[in-house]
Structure formats: structure tokens, C-alpha cells
């Protein structure tokens, strides 16, 4: 196990090290150049040879052990030092976000990266926007594709969540409105209560309870909901499947998902799993929330998001600030991150005494933020984080738009563009204010406005234009 974890860790480190691969290579070459100029050239014939031999010559004076594996150690050390510096500098990242995974999620915030170099932050802002556009788009595409093809998620089975007990198939419109308001109120209070419990648990350091809760909810999502989803997809496409194969598939999918999300895994796989569970959760909401309740919940939750994140006594703000004080990441299982999180410190076998001794002889070989920036001409990889609740509610809005809007694709497209623009504006605000911001309000507002406007105003207009073959 320890070796496996070491291997995984080194795999992770190498991934970080290879990010901006060209830069690292230049880095190593510059280090070798420094070594070249710094050595005493006692062995003249070694001048023209590559750096490892030169450093080996120096080591030879002190410790013969190193000569045998000089090249290997040198490369590993350079890589290790570079990655160590990255992980050290990334400590400065402000981490702190929260989301309740499976259950009725409360709200989410976006991470601001602590960056004193504002110019570079804004310059790479466009890249961060795209880093979030792609997963949000993928999640929405999955949800819309499922809604349009698998009829299960648009069927009204008469079942509803226990959080929304009032039915909407009443006689009068007034009764329906009242029921939906009550449903939304119950749901929102459940969400508020859960958020408060989460914040309290976090504040009083009951990490085990929180981790257990998250573990169970992602277990539910990865096994049970995906089993149902797969079953419905097979039914739609009339695929014959035996239970044994299905069990093997679901088992593998679920276990790999749990490992990727809660422990370690390749970044892309982790991102893919987070997108998939967000899509599954959004589909559950689309199926089990009645029509008016769903829209009301979306509206109220974006207001709640705004209050919870920005008000001084808001629970999410307290959560973020507590996490910042303790300087630890919150629940990496609940946040979509565009770059790998900081890896655990692993000295790779080089004890501090050895490193100290080496530094004493050869001077400071470790690259600093400034030297690296100089050489690479760009900052180290900085990412942006978005909570899974955002994914869920965006996809829920677009999915509901495609399910409910009389089969019209224009409405879906309009909501999609509106949500992306809202996300873009939110990230712009993030770049300006540099603190955790709610991601829901702007996007959901735009989404709702465009949904109702497109469905009621634009659709008849476009239909008339299509009939008469007008193109505008």
C-alpha cells in the first residue's frame, strides 16, 4: 500500500511537474547551466558533458554512494524540487468551498485564487472561463440528451420527493400556486437546515461525520442512481442485459468513482465522474419535482445563494472563512476543480539533512516563484473551482427547459447561452473582487428570464417565421 500510494503520489507530482512541460525543461537546463558555471571544473574532461556528470563529480567528493545513481537522482531531485516548490507556492491558494453532494444541495461558491499579480489573473481569466464552460456544457449536454431520449425522466409517475409533499394536479390554478409555494418553502428550509448543520459540524471539527455523510451520499449516487439510469437507457434502446454483466458494470463504475472522488485519481477521470454525478442528480430533480415547484425552487435558491455567501453571517461565508483560517481545503469531493489540488508533501526519499547538506555545498538550487516565472514567461497553473451544486442547478434548468418547453429546441438553446453568459459574468466579478462568490444568482436569473421569454414570446414568432420562410 505505501508503495502504491507513493507511486500514485509521484504520478500526481509528475503530472503537476509536466504541466507547462516546456517550462520545466528550460528550468532544468537553466539549473544545469548554473551548475556548470558554479563548478570548479576539477575534471576538465567533463566540461562538455551534460550536467548530471558534473554534479556527480561534486557528489563524488562527498559521498560515493551517489555516483552510482547520479543521473537518476539528479533528474528526480530537479523534478522533485520543482514540484515541491509548486506545491509550496500553491499553498497560497485560498481554498474553501462547500457543497452538499447528493442531497438537496444548498449553495455553492466559486473559489478565488489568491494572486497578487492582478494582471496575470485577468489575462488568464479567459482561460479559466473556458475551463468552466466545457464541463458545464458537457453536463448540460448529458442531461438534455437523456431527457430527449429516455422518456422515464419526463414521465409523471405520481411519485414525488418527500421534501415536496404537496401535489400540483389540483383543480384550480390558485391551489396549484399555493401548493408549489409550500413545496418550495419546505425544500428551501430543508436545504438551509442542512447547510447550517454542515457549517456547525465543520466549525466543531466533526470531520468524520461530514466525511461519512459525503461518502454515503456519493455511494448512493454512484451505485443506486446510476443503476436506475442505466436500466432506463437499456429499456429505451431495447438492449437485452443480464444482471451479472450489469452488476459487474455498476460495481466497477461505482468503485472507481468512489476512489477518484474521495481519494486520488487522474484529474480528467475525477472531473468526468463529478460531471456524471451532477447530471444524475439534476435528472433526479427534473423527474421528481413538479413543474411550478421546480421553477420556484430555482428562483428561491439563487436568492438564498446570494444571501448565504455574501452576508456577513451567511452560513457559507462562515464556512469559507473558517476554512481559510484553518488553511485547509473543504470537501474536495464536492467541488469541481479545473487543476489538480495540491499534492501531499512527499520528500521522495531525500531527507532534510541531505537536502540541507546539498544546499550548503551547491547553493540554493531550488527554483523560486520569480525565477520560474522569468524563465517560463507565464505563471504556474492556477485553476478555478466551481461547486457541484452549481452544475446541478444549471443542468436542472436546461433540462427542465428541454423537457417542458413543448419540444422546442430554441428554448433549450436560449437557456444554455444565458447560463453560460451568467457564468462568464460571475467569473468576471470573481476576477475583480477576488473572493468567494455565489455562482447561481446571475446565471439562474438569466436562465429563468430567457426560458419564460423564449417559450412564450419567441417561440410563436419563430414558428410564424418558419412557416412563411422568413430568415432574420
Amino acid at each position: 500500500m505505501p508503495t502504491q500510494s507513493r507511486h500514485a503520489q509521484s504520478g500526481n507530482r509528475l503530472r503537476t511537474a509536466n504541466h507547462g512541460h516546456g517550462g520545466r525543461q528550460r528550468d532544468q537546463r537553466s539549473h544545469r547551466a548554473a551548475l556548470h558555471s558554479g563548478t570548479r571544473r576539477t575534471h576538465g574532461q567533463l566540461c562538455g558533458l551534460k550536467a548530471p556528470r558534473v554534479t556527480a563529480a561534486n557528489f563524488h567528493n562527498e559521498n560515493t554512494n551517489f555516483r552510482r545513481r547520479s543521473e537518476e537522482i539528479n533528474n528526480k531531485r530537479l523534478r522533485g524540487s520543482v514540484t515541491q516548490n509548486i506545491s509550496l507556492s500553491d499553498h497560497r491558494h485560498v481554498q474553501g468551498d462547500t457543497e452538499l453532494n447528493g442531497q438537496p444541495p444548498s449553495t455553492r461558491v466559486i473559489q478565488a485564487e489568491d494572486d497578487d499579480d492582478e494582471e496575470l489573473t485577468l489575462k488568464y481569466g479567459a482561460k479559466h472561463v473556458i475551463m468552466l464552460f466545457v464541463p458545464v456544457t458537457l453536463c448540460m449536454v448529458v442531461v438534455v440528451a437523456t431527457i430527449k431520449s429516455v422518456s422515464f425522466y419526463t414521465q409523471n409517475d405520481g411519485q414525488q420527493l418527500i421534501y415536496t409533499p404537496f401535489r400540483e394536479d389540483t383543480e384550480t390554478v390558485g391551489q396549484r400556486a399555493l401548493n408549489s409555494i409550500l413545496n418550495a418553502a419546505i425544500m428551501i428550509s430543508v436545504i438551509v437546515v442542512m447547510t447550517l448543520i454542515l457549517v456547525l459540524l465543520y466549525k466543531y471539527r466533526c470531520y468524520k461525520v461530514i466525511h461519512g455523510w459525503l461518502f454515503i451520499s456519493s455511494l448512493l449516487l454512484l451505485f443506486f442512481f446510476s443503476f436506475i439510469y442505466l436500466g432506463e437507457v437499456f429499456k429505451t434502446y431495447n438492449v437485452a442485459m443480464d444482471y451479472l454483466t450489469l452488476a459487474v458494470i455498476i460495481w466497477n463504475f461505482g468503485v472507481v468513482g468512489m476512489i477518484c472522488i474521495h481519494w486520488k485519481g487522474p484529474l480528467r477521470l475525477q472531473q468526468a465522474y463529478l460531471i456524471m454525478i451532477s447530471a444524475l442528480m439534476a435528472l433526479v430533480f427534473i423527474k421528481y419535482l413538479p413543474e411550478w415547484t421546480a421553477w420556484l425552487i430555482l428562483a428561491v435558491i439563487s436568492v438564498y445563494d446570494l444571501l448565504a455567501v455574501l452576508c456577513p453571517k451567511g452560513p457559507l461565508r462562515i464556512l469559507v472563512e473558517t476554512a481559510q483560517e484553518r488553511d485547509e481545503p473543504i470537501f474536495p469531493a464536492l467541488i469541481y476543480s479545473s487543476v489538480p489540488d495540491q499534492q501531499a508533501e512527499d520528500d521522495g526519499g531525500f531527507t532534510t539533512s541531505w537536502v540541507g547538506q546539498q544546499q550548503h555545498q551547491l547553493g540554493n538550487l531550488q527554483s523560486t516563484e520569480d525565477t520560474r516565472r522569468e524563465i517560463q514567461g507565464m505563471p504556474s497553473a492556477r485553476g478555478v473551482k466551481l461547486g457541484l451544486g452549481d452544475f446541478i442547478f444549471y443542468s436542472m434548468l436546461v433540462g427542465k427547459a428541454s423537457a417542458a418547453a413543448s419540444g422546442d429546441w430554441n428554448t433549450t438553446l436560449a437557456c444554455f447561452v444565458a447560463i453560460l453568459i451568467g457564468l462568464c459574468l460571475t467569473l468576471l466579478l470573481l476576477a475583480i473582487f477576488k473572493k468567494a462568490l455565489p455562482a447561481l444568482p446571475i446565471s439562474i436569473t438569466f436562465g429563468l428570464v430567457f426560458y419564460f421569454a423564449t417559450d412564450n414570446l419567441v417561440r410563436p414568432f419563430m414558428d410564424q417565421l418558419a412557416v412563411h420562410q422568413f430568415y432574420i
Binding site: 479567459a126 473556458i130 464552460f133 429546441w409 438553446l413 447561452v417 414568432f461 422568413f470 432574420i472
Partner: protein, 226 residues
Amino acid sequence: MTVAVFFGCAFIAFGPALALFIFTIARDPLRVIILIAGAFFWLLSLLLSSLVWFIAVKASRQEEATAQKGLLIFGVMFSVVLQEVFRFAYYRLLRKANEGLAAISEENLSPISIRQMAYVAGLGFGIMSGAFSMINILSDSLGPGTVGIFGDSQYYFITSAFMTLAMTLLHTFWGVVFFDSCERNRWWAVAVVLSLHLLVSGLVSPSPSHRSRAVRTHNTCADKRP
């Protein structure tokens, strides 16, 4: 109607736009954002113009077909004018953003020029316009049915696809010409763009002959190519 019709019409309508997107826009995050914002501005203009049309329809007598047709033509003209207004608004926004980008960059050079932005903005308008015109038709083409079984033209899907293609490209060209003439204060060129847009959108004869309309629009398209 088959999958073949679906893919054929889809690629006729969106092939060039997709190719332009993949080869010139997808690599640069800033251009993608400008594209999507352009689509958003077009959408806003459509929203407002359909609001006006909707109010007009509700306020009028709904039984007469000619009145409805007249209102529709009015709606189209108003929509075209509003689109150009929003194009101008987007131009102003991009100008300001360009100055901002130049100010915060190291060498005081914006990473993107106003011409590139004009092209991307035009393409954004075009893609959104094409998508709104074509997507419902495409999704209908996947299902069962026969085109023109009640005596309408059997070429409805193909002509729609070609018209969508033409409009997408036209929007792109109009975007470039519009922004350039705004930069150089050539307001007559802006008026030309507006009138051409009105001309193309208004190319409807009382008894629509789809093929001839498509040909006329494609001629306009060919003339516009810079």
C-alpha cells in the same frame, strides 16, 4: 425523412460555421467568449423584437390573415433593425473591452484586434441566427413524415438548410463590414449593411418560391464576400 436528411441538412446549414469555429476560434478562449457573447446579444435583440411583435399581435384583430401577415412583416423589419442596433451596442462594448485588455496587458497591446473581434462577433450572430432558424426543422427531420405531402414544396428542408447557411455567412460578413465602417466613421456603409439585411430578410414574395429566394440570397452572399 431519414438520418441521412438530418445529417445532410445539418452539415449544409452548419458545416462552414462549424469549420470556422474549429479552425479559428476554438483554440483561443477569448474568442470563444466573444462568440458566445455575440450569440447572447443576438438573442437579446430577438427577445425584444418578439416582445414587440407579440404585443402587436395581441392588440390587433386576430382573425384576419392579411393583417397577421402584415404584422409579421413589420415584426421582421423591426427585428432586423433591432439586430443592427444590438450589433452596434456590441461593437461599443467590445471597443471598451479592447481598451481594457490593452491597458492590463504587459506591452499595452490587446491580445485581439478589433477586426478579429468583428469576425468573431459576426459569426456569433450568424450561428445563433442559424441555430434558431434551423434546429427545430432538424429535429423534425429525424422523425417520421413526408415533406410537402399536402402540396407544399418538397424541398423545404434543403432550402431551409441553404438559407440558414447563407444567413450565417451573411451575418459574419456584415459583422466585419459593420465594425470596420464604425471604426472609420463611414456611416453610409453601416446604412448599406442595414439595408442589405432588410433586403435579404424581406425577400419574400406572396407565393413563396423557395428555390428562387435561396438563389437571390446566395447572390447577395457572393457579392458581400470581402
